[in-house]
Amino acid sequence: MSTKASRSAARLMLAPAVILLLGWMLVPLTLTLIFSFQRFLPMRGGFQGWVGFENYVRFVTSSAFWPSVQATVVIVGGVLLITVTLGILLAILLDQPMWGQGVVRILVIAPFFVMPTVSGLVWKNMFMDPNNGLLSHLWRFFGADPIIWLSDASMLSIILIVSWQWLPFATLILLTAIQSLDSEQLEAAEMDGAPILSRFWHIILPHLSRAITIVILIQTIFLLAIFAEIFVTTQGSFGTRTLTYLIFQRVLESQNVGLGSAGGIYAVILANIFALFLMRIVGKNLDR
């Protein structure tokens, strides 16, 4: 790709992809921006004039806004904590030579292939159902009263479901990172008198730090947008209304497209701030 002809040919061939991607991103973003400055109620009179920043002010001053931000943060934080911690432990476990390694690895990765809607329904009906769920049977087996998961421990339930889905991703990335650790380093640490926990703390964990930041970065961006798991389980009730879900409700349940669009723009800004912040950390980590 050094001659002038090949460079322009390359540009020409890249063009369709770039134009398509840009269009895909820019058209919805622009529409959302335009809607956010309108009073637009499709079922109740349609377009009713431009309102400036009124939608933006209404969205943040509504009593549902801060709880939804809090719910988002709790869910994202909780899922990250569970997936990273368990992911590290599982990765170390899967790195050990054992019989049937290939099959076990595929089984561990399997949940990632289940669609969010399906996994939400499976958990709701097979595990968390108060009458027939496996968990309630387990509780009853030990003589305890079954927990009514989705209403009494709604937040925990959502976090568990989403963690189950994302644990394979974390495990997979951390496993590849662990496999790249030079075994002589661990042996050197062993010779240097480091017991097993010190070896984990001083050698394995620092080695994984890059992979961990990458897992956190990628998961955060996807977790900010989780929707299906909430939609098929609690429908946003019992304190599980995240920012994404609130926007959905404003647009489709209250049929207020303008207000929802304003919320959408807030979500875009928030996600970008977060992404930028994380990129910085990753960049710093990758420098070393």
Partner: protein
């Protein structure tokens, strides 16, 4: 103190026996080199001594203490790995201090010992860098620094110079020998390079397929190799091994004569041959001479100024007192 005794030590991985019963004693303060071709079990032997592998049977005693049940860290040994195995996320200072930190020394003592080791190894200016910012030779020195701060009973080196370029290797060879002279600590050094073995060792252990072929000082091995394997392995360029008619004249199956023990002349000599490739090293010249009736060429060392053209006919005379004789089993005939 660091006397290391191996008694009837064996090691198998599954059905494969890597080390058949082996006896070896390394005296306190000795520089012992394990040398042999790759796959001869020399690294495995070192790892057995280090405790990174368990012996299948037999005993390893360090200072008279049987250490099958002693974990690597408590054997009082320090190891320098082939890949150096530095901790990439720690600075040089922290790398060197790591064993001290694990042993629970206080900060002041850690700093004192690290500074001392850094001064010995010329690393003082690099203490705050990370391993990634150092050259190969410097990394090697950090790895040695991490070993010496523990003041171990013995050092174990696993092919420590194989990742360095030729010039640096010569330099580090001297530095390690220097270190041994200063510390007077037992060192066990594994290499496949017979030059390293010859130049550094007090005692060379030649290994083949887990067997000890010969143990002795470098000159013992050079002067009186016990069998054909040792004869071919020790010395550079290799000893010429001649079978057939010439060997029968000396009542042997094979005779060996080193390139440096053959004199050459244009006009007269016991053997004659045609010059093939000649290698001019400046100080020496090595001629590969084809002698009729021999499959392999004979290597001959001559002064650097001697020049024979390719295809020239020359005459060679081996020094009779330097001819090594071997029987049909490949063993030396005294």
């Amino acid at each position: 103190m660091g006397q290391i005794v191996l008694e009837q030590v064996t090691k198998s991985f599954g059905d494969v026996t890597v080390i058949p019963p082996l006896d070896l004693t390394i005296e306190d303060g000795e520089f012992a080199v394990f040398v042999g071709p790759s796959g001869c079990g020399k690294s495995t032997l070192l790892r057995l001594i280090a405790g990174l592998e368990d012996v299948t049977s037999g005993e390893i005693r360090i200072d008279g203490k049987e250490c099958a049940s002693i974990p690597p860290a408590r054997r009082g040994l320090a190891m320098v790995f082939q890949s150096y195995a530095l901790y990439p996320h720690m600075t040089v200072r922290k790398n060197i201090a790591f064993p001290l930190r694990m042993a629970g020394f206080d900060r002041a003592e850690q700093d004192r010992r690290v500074e001392q080791a850094a001064a010995v190894l010329n690393l003082t200016d690099y203490l705050d860098r990370r391993p990634g910012q150092l050259s190969g030779g410097q990394r090697q020195r950090v790895a040695i620094g991490r070993a010496i701060v523990r003041e171990p009973a013995a050092f174990l080196f696993d092919e420590p110079l194989s990742n360095l370029d030729a010039a640096l290797r010569v330099g580090m060879r001297l530095e390690i020998s220097e270190l041994h002279n200063r510390l007077q600590t037992t060192m066990i050094y594994v290499t496949h390079d017979q030059v390293e073995a010859m130049t550094m060792a007090d005692k060379i252990v030649v290994l083949r397929a887990g067997h000890v072929e010969q143990v002795g000082s470098p000159l013992d091995l050079y002067r009186a190799p016990r069998n054909l394997f040792v004869a071919g392995f020790i010395g550079s360029p290799k000893m010429n091994l001649i079978e057939g008619e010439e060997a029968v004249k000396h009542n042997a199956t094979t005779i060996g004569i080193r390139p440096e023990h053959i004199s050459i002349s244009e006009s007269e000599g016991r053997w004659s041959g045609i010059v093939g490739v000649s290698e001019h090293l400046g100080s020496d010249t090595f001629f590969h001479v084809h002698k009729t009736g021999l499959a392999d060429s004979i290597t001959v060392r001559a002064d650097g100024e001697v020049g024979f053209k390719h295809g020239a006919r020359i005459h060679m005379t081996p020094r009779d007192d330097m001819i090594h004789r071997f029987d049909e089993k490949g063993l030396r005939i005294a």
